[in-house]
Amino acid sequence: MTLAEVVLAAAFAGLVAYALFGGADFGGGVWDLLAGGAERGHRVRDRIERSIGPVWEANHVWLIFVLVVLWTGFSRAFAAAVTTLHVPLTLAAFGIIARGAAFAYRKSVSTPGMRRFFGAAFALSSLLTPFFLGAVVGGVASGRVPPGIAEGDVVRSWVNPTSLLGGSLAVLVCAYLAAVFLCGDARRDGEHDLADAFRLRALVTGAVTGAVGLAGIAVLHADAPELFDGLVGRGLPVVVASVVAGLGALVLLLTRRYTLARIASALAVTAILIGWAAGQYPYVLLPSLTVEQAATGRSTLLALLVALGAGALILVPSLTCLYVLFQRPRAAGRK
């Protein structure tokens, strides 16, 4: 692996983490949206709020991490992509603003009307944000971002079959991950009926996600031939791994092994993303800009490597502390 590849791999690992953790938070919002009326959906919404409340801000930072590593290590490709895709990115940023603010503000008000309004804003933006981010990935993956500044079509770069597929898959994956993660959370707190309800949601969205993903291969064949070739060529083992992990996760859900189901689901989603990366390797921007061409100077990449290593030493224990603290059942009596 070259230095540039290591740095890009770090950014990619950040993207995977964002998809798994940040994605599940968005998925929580999707289930909030679909939870039904205030009376009926109360317990589901409450469960979601308790699960993502302490962690969503930390999970969100993965996105910032990806952006800053890319603009430092792959400045030109970054500038090209965000200028061509400025519309969906701005919409995603608005979604992030609405989601985060509404979620935090809802906690701080007690009147039912206000709570409902913030709840609706939180839920709707949780659906739209991953869609736009998925559409951005679709634009990059289908080679619609040329390497110059704002050289691509600012509309068709994200309004196209691959982007539609990317957006839909992103929403489905978020909803699926959230449902799987919430099964375990609900069971841990003794809410077995809720655990079963999320299990059903996970099974259904898991099946739908798999079906859309497989149908999507046909879309890629027609709309993004280079990515398709990469996927069925170099990427094939990863695609197979994703299918196997996904099926395994469904079996684990059926047998209520929620912790293992979380791991299998995370593997399946990670494999989808690795499939995309493998499919377009060695190009950062299809069809011509390679990782090496896009990378900035050696001293910058080295500085990045040092910072990423040192940062990981701080980040890993901190994140562990956060998750361990809030995955632990709340001590009785101190409530």
Partner: protein, 445 residues
């Protein structure tokens, strides 16, 4: 190529306005991210130490406000990181490898802050009091590191270092570590860091001053005013000294900015310090002048020579009126806040109590807004004062802006989103302030 230029120049105004709006909004919440954790955990610590339920209740209330303020800061900061690329690809694409690096470090600081804000806000019932207070310390540290990194990137734009350009203008030999430590970095960082404590301190104190003016003079309100006001009052005199430092840094490194700040056209020895006025036809009209003031300020010598705008080509001069008046506003409000701090400090020193007049409370009640205006004016001074450059002396703002169609609509949309966001943020914070019960944050249903 001509078409490209036409598009880009049309985008310059909306892009600058969008950036100014987003940054101007975010910076207020960033101040709370930097300064508020330290203040809240101090109150919590004192409350535990003295077994003082009033202080514990205050810490609970402030932690709830912190949840709102931190979320607002986090999401508005995200939009900014998108905008850096969307609006200014000429800056990020070309110089990202030089000055993008501190943002990576800031990313880690933001991570630490976001992780421990979760632990702190949701951990009241899960951690022992001691562990809970310790969980705030990473936030305090991350606030310092994060502020340093972001400000160092801005300082680099003011005084770019850490790279060379080849004949074609391409960046070669980028040295991101040394780019972080240019001549402006330390002065700008300390200035901003203190500003964060002033804004946070005066703003919170002003909330309780309003409450006391309405007759709620219990211990809860007095403590809510005293503690943040003390923090701000300690920071203010230091800030005035740092202001002198940073003015000298600007004089050394960005003479055009300093000349614009003072509305000074001619290079003068024994230059006076001009207050107010309007700059037209290469001179300042209706200004009040303090003789020798500027030379004294910059060189600590009444006959020191201060270069004027005439030294700079006409197309490299910043817009003088905006910079001059913003600078005057910042200094003017800063001095007013210094007087308020001195009033408070004097009475406290002599009598161990707050000044006993409604006028003092009224002054504290407006000090929060004043501190925010002063900080915004300071940012306008440094940002507009750098124009027409985005990278001083190297890259013009007009050459950095994106030529993509639709940026004008982006400004409209951002203005709309921020209007709505501002309204709801204010509504929620007001409700929090009015709500008298103080259970443990984030646990009540």
């Amino acid at each position: 190529m001509l078409e490209f230029l036409a598009d880009a120049s049309e985008n310059l105004y909306p892009a600058r306005m969008q950036m100014a709006l987003s940054l101007g909004w975010h910076i207020v919440f960033a101040c709370f991210g930097i300064a508020f954790p330290a203040i809240v955990v101090f109150v919590e610590w004192r409350g535990h130490r003295r077994g003082d339920e009033v202080l514990i209740a205050l810490a609970h209330k402030w932690a709830k406000a912190m949840a709102v303020l931190f979320a607002a800061g986090a999401v508005s900061g995200t939009l900014l990181s998108f905008e850096m690329g969307i609006l200014w690809p000429g800056l990020m694409g070309r110089f990202g490898e030089v000055f993008g690096f501190p943002f990576v470090l800031e990313g880690f600081a933001f991570f630490v802050e976001a992780i421990f804000v979760g632990v702190y806000l949701f951990g009241w019932n899960r951690l022992s009091p001691r562990a809970h207070m310790f969980s705030a310390l990473p936030m305090v540290a991350a606030g310092i590191v994060g502020a340093f990194c972001v400000v160092s990137a801005n300082a680099w734009m003011n005084n770019p270092t850490g790279f060379r350009l080849d004949e074609q203008g391409n960046v070669v030999d980028a040295r991101p570590w040394s780019a972080m430590f240019g001549p402006s970095t330390w002065a700008q960082f300390v200035h901003m860091w203190l500003a964060a404590f002033m804004v946070t301190g005066f703003l919170i104190a002003s909330v309780y001053a309003v409450g006391m003016l309405r007759g709620r003079r219990d211990r809860y309100h007095r403590a809510g005013l005293l503690i943040p006001l003390t923090v701000a009052a300690l920071a203010t005199p230091v800030q005035i000294g740092v202001g002198d430092w940073i003015a000298n840094v600007v004089a050394d490194n960005q003479p055009a900015k300093l000349a614009a700040m003072e509305g000074q056209y001619e290079t003068t020895s024994g230059a006076g310090l001009s207050l107010g006025g309007l700059y037209r036809d290469d001179r300042l009209h209706y200004a009040v002048e303090i003789p020798y003031g500027l030379s004294l300020l910059i060189h600590h010598d009444p006959d020191g020579v201060v270069p004027g705008l005439e030294e700079v080509p006409a197309d490299e001069r910043p817009p003088v009126n905006v910079v001059h008046l913003a600078y005057n506003a910042m200094v003017g409000i800063g001095v007013a806040l210094l007087l308020l701090s001195a009033w408070y400090g004097l009475v406290w020193w002599r009598r161990r109590r707050l000044p006993d007049t409604a006028w003092f409370l009224r002054a504290v009640a407006v000090s929060g807004a004043g501190a925010v205006v002063a900080m915004e004016a300071g940012w306008i001074t440094t940002e507009v004062g750098r124009q027409p450059w985005v990278v001083y002396g190297i890259l013009r703002t007009a050459d950095a802006v994106s030529p993509a169609p639709g940026l004008g609509w982006g400004l409209v949309a951002v203005a709309g989103v921020y209007t709505v966001l501002t309204v709801f943020t204010v509504v929620v914070l007001r409700r929090l302030a009015r709500d008298r019960d103080t259970p443990v944050p984030q646990e009540q249903r």
